[in-house]
């Protein structure tokens, strides 16, 4: 297949909390709901654990987009820590904008343990959104930032 006919498949890193959104992903799995295979998940205990460094690290390492997910406001297992994640989310969006990265590459998703269907649906729409934005264009010659297409071929 040539480069022209192959659709762009974004690589997305997703952060989930142990109690709601990771369980929503489990729920989507148990119910065999199908969604796009572009998101690779990391489990944290709480969305409040999300250090903005993680998000920037993911972008720096070649992710085209980052998903941040947690319990619905008011439903946090640790009472209110998802509000702290929300604050950081808005802060990160501003920082990304200053770095010239489209704000559409960072998404916040609240999903309860019962919302596997919502989780799957939102991932699909996020993947489409990022696909429309195209690859995150790091204009770098640094050898540490590896050429992503080569990397993805390693596992294909």
């Amino acid at each position: 297949m040539t480069e022209e006919t192959k659709p762009f498949e974004p690589v997305i890193i997703g952060f989930t909390c142990n109690w709601c959104s990771y369980r929503a992903a489990d729920m989507a799995g148990t119910a065999r709901m199908k969604y796009a295979p572009n998101v690779r998940l990391i489990r944290l205990m709480c969305s409040g654990r999300l250090d903005p460094t993680f998000v920037f690290k993911a972008f720096a390492g070649g992710a085209d987009a980052v998903l941040v997910s947690g319990c619905h406001p008011g439903d946090c297992h640790y009472s209110t820590q998802n509000y702290k994640a929300m604050r950081r989310f808005h802060l990160m969006k501003r920082v990304l904008a200053q770095l010239g990265i489209e704000s559409g590459r960072l998404k916040l998703l609240w999903a309860s343990a019962a919302e596997g269907a919502i989780f799957a649906k939102e991932i699909n729409s996020f993947v489409e959104q990022v696909r429309a934005l195209g690859p995150l264009n790091w204009n770098t010659t640094s050898p540490e930032i590896l050429d992503k297409t080569v990397k993805e071929e390693v596992i294909a």
């Binding site: 709601c20 799995g29 148990t30 250090d51 993680f54 309860s112």
Partner: protein, 669 residues
């Protein structure tokens, strides 16, 4: 690289292997990740089987593995399994990572190539993370032997009695003035038709007299702090205006009370009670409650008839709400259900057409202790119906209301049909969508009803109306329905309609779930830890659920769950100690600048600030391990075990395959 890592890829039968090229992934991991310390990679049909676990254990010993990555199902399912396997082979269990390539990969993707590539990335992330895993020991905390049971219906009663009979103390909290729940309102129970009160009240009395049960009725839980083994619970004991120590329950007060009030709760609006009352004669405890909204003394400032006639001076008009604080190790929630509000379906005419009843109203109507003494009569109080229509699935199995099946209504409607037929000789019509009788003796009961001559009409009722089209319909309620077995519209005139309103979660289920730190499903039922294998535990350790609060359930199923939850609690109490995941934050005091940013972020007040040394410290007994402070510390002085920065940052590298060695493309000049 000093670590020796083993990677184990599970087929899970065809669950994973059907979509992911498991052998290919395993081979890839052995080769591409060799530079990261992977010394062996295997795939196996069922990694969780004893043979699969032995495979890992053998490798740990023979290959001297220092880390293990298992790629299989969700860690919420089998993380303990594989950690225990590692422990059995002498490896610290926290040096094992379970990464999910089933729930997050094979089960949700259809493209085999993409799913296989994703599995490789997930394993690569797990390998990078496991390198930074640390040896940890679970935290051991003592379990307080007392238990809190919330809800005094049949599920809560069963749970409380099981635990109390085993010799441990129980606090049973009930919102209403008496325990008994919905079951106390019923006359007969299906399919055996034994009298509800006859089987329930002995258990209620047992609860009331049990030396190991502290019964707190007319009370509500207001606050819950702590964690498994060590919950601090605040309970509001509402003012009854009765000195319980003096009251004998003689009943003179409610005989003398001049104020009558419609009883919307226990009598479902069909009967009246006094302003000082017990909901029903067999109530436990026996003490009455003064309804301070309707009591003449609280409205006008005079009356006090009850006080005047009370032979033991037990009335206390100045009693105040009381706050009771208790310490418990485990909590069982058995808060029950609400009935679907039948007025939401206006075409069925409830509250508009007099002789349309709900199921709960009919329970009271048919109850020998109810407002009519068990006589099944119309609202005029004397006319015996000649024909009765019973509508199944009211608000259930309906996309406009509740999509789920309420599970009890078919059997309950059959019971009603039997009672109507037996006591009035009326013609009975049951309108059903599907007949669901899936339990011991239930189908036989249905057969019995068929033989009794009940008419069964398969179809969803469109409308209940009093507008007659022909003289035979005059003065009747007409049920308009499509009989789907004969493919015709029918209009059936009856005198009484009973709506089998479905079950739904308590209106305040979400608030209760939040109070106890558990989750609700889409329909607001409490979510169990596993729908099949762990139906009474929740995701929050130490909190169990039982009865209809978890989903629609009949009496036998509620009793089973009450007993099951009690067994789980007794198991915990017997262990005397519980292991907690050692996921905690710690402050490196040499790096702490004393900025105190973390102090206000902790919802558990687990972070102390030492004014003398100007540094913060985390109290591990209070820390719950959310990691918010770890993420917030500007000096990077706080580390979180199990989810350290190194672990997560490395996992990101792994997921993005930054760890795979290859020659970068030459940079164009």
């Amino acid at each position: 690289m000093t670590e020796r890592i083993g990677v184990y890829v599970c087929h899970c039968g065809t669950n994973i292997a059907g979509i992911v090229d498991v052998a290919g992934v395993s081979k890839w991991a052995g080769e591409a990740l060799a530079g990261r310390g992977v010394v062996i990679a295997r795939d196996y049909k069922f990694m969780c089987s004893s043979l699969g676990q032995e495979l890992i254990q053998k490798d740990i010993k023979e290959q001297k593995l220092t880390r293990v990555v298992v790629a299989a199902c969700s860690p919420h399912l089998h993380e303990p399994t594989f950690r225990n396997a590692c422990k059995g082979a002498g490896l610290n269990p926290y040096l094992c990572e379970l990464v999910s390539i089933r729930e997050q990969d094979s089960w949700v993707h259809t493209d085999k190539v993409a799913a296989t590539a994703k599995a490789k990335a997930i394993i690569s992330g797990g390998v990078e993370r496991v390198i930074h895993d640390e040896e940890l020991e679970p935290l051991r905390v003592p379990i307080h032997p007392d238990t809190l049971v919330v809800g005094g219906g049949i599920a809560g009663i069963q749970a409380a009695l099981e635990i109390a009979d085993a010799g441990f103390h129980v606090y049973l909290v009930e919102r209403e003035p008496s325990i008994g729940g919905h079951m106390a309102q019923f006359d007969k129970t299906f399919p055996t038709l034994d009298c509800s009160a006859c089987i329930l009240t002995p258990k209620m009395v047992q609860v009331g007299n049990h030396p190991n049960i502290t019964l707190l009725t007319w009370s509500e839980v207001t606050k819950v702090d702590g964690f498994i083994g060590n919950f601090d619970v605040s309970i509001k004991k509402k003012a009854r205006y009765i000195k319980e120590a003096d009251c004998t329950g003689c009943g003179i007060c409610w005989e003398k009370c001049p104020k009558k009030v419609v009883d919307e709760v226990f009598e479902a609006g069909l009967g009246k009670r006094k302003a000082i009352y017990v909901p029903f004669p067999q109530a436990v405890p026996k003490y009455p409650v003064i309804d301070d909204v309707n009591c003449t003394y609280y409205i006008k400032g005079t009356c006090k008839a009850c006080e005047k006639f009370c032979p033991t001076n037990a009335i206390d008009f100045n009693q105040k709400d009381e706050e009771i604080n208790v310490k418990v190790g485990n909590i069982i929630l058995a808060t029950g259900y609400d009935l679907f509000d039948a007025t939401r379906i206006p075409q069925y005419g409830y509250k508009r057409l007099a002789n349309v009843y709900t199921n709960l109203e009919f329970e009271r109507l048919s109850n020998a202790a109810g407002p009519t003494g068990g006589n099944i009569v119309l609202r005029d109080g004397k006319t015996v119906p000649q024909a009765v229509g019973i509508v199944h699935c009211v608000g259930s199995r309906d996309q406009n209301y509740n999509p789920y099946c309420s599970s009890i209504c078919c059997m309950q409607s059959l019971k009603f049909a039997h009672l109507v037929h037996e006591r009035t000789g009326a013609e009975v019509y049951n309108f059903y969508i599907d007949m669901r009788t899936p339990s011991k003796g239930y189908e036989e009961f249905y057969q019995r009803l068929l033989e009794e001559g009940t008419h069964f009409v398969r179809g969803k009722v469109a409308e209940v109306t009093n507008v007659a089209r022909v003289p035979a319909e005059e003065g009747k309620l007409i049920i308009q329905v499509e009989d789907t077995l004969i493919g015709k519209q029918r209009r059936i005139p009856v005198d009484m309609v009973i709506l089998s309103a479905g079950l739904q979660a308590r209106h305040d289920a979400k608030e209760v779930a939040k109070l106890f730190g558990i989750a609700c499903s889409y329909d607001n039922w409490f979510i169990e830890r596993h729908p099949k294998l762990d139906p009474v535990a929740t995701m929050t350790e130490g909190i169990y659920i039982a009865g209809a609060a978890q989903g629609p359930k009949d009496i036998p199923a509620s009793v089973v769950q009450g007993a099951a939850a009690a067994a789980r609690v007794l198991g915990k109490i017997q262990q005397k100690e519980v292991s907690l995941e050692p996921i905690r934050a710690t402050v490196n005091q040499d790096m702490c600048s004393g900025c105190r940013i973390c102090n206000n972020l902790c919802p558990f007040n687990a972070i102390l600030f030492h004014e003398d040394k100007m540094v913060s410290e985390v109290n591990p007994a209070l820390c719950q391990g959310c990691g918010t402070c770890v993420a917030a510390c500007p000096a990077g002085a706080i580390s979180g075990t199990g989810f350290s920065n190194e672990q997560i940052l490395s996992q990101i590298d792994g997921l993005l395959l930054l760890n795979i060695p290859h020659q970068p493309a030459p940079v164009a000049q």
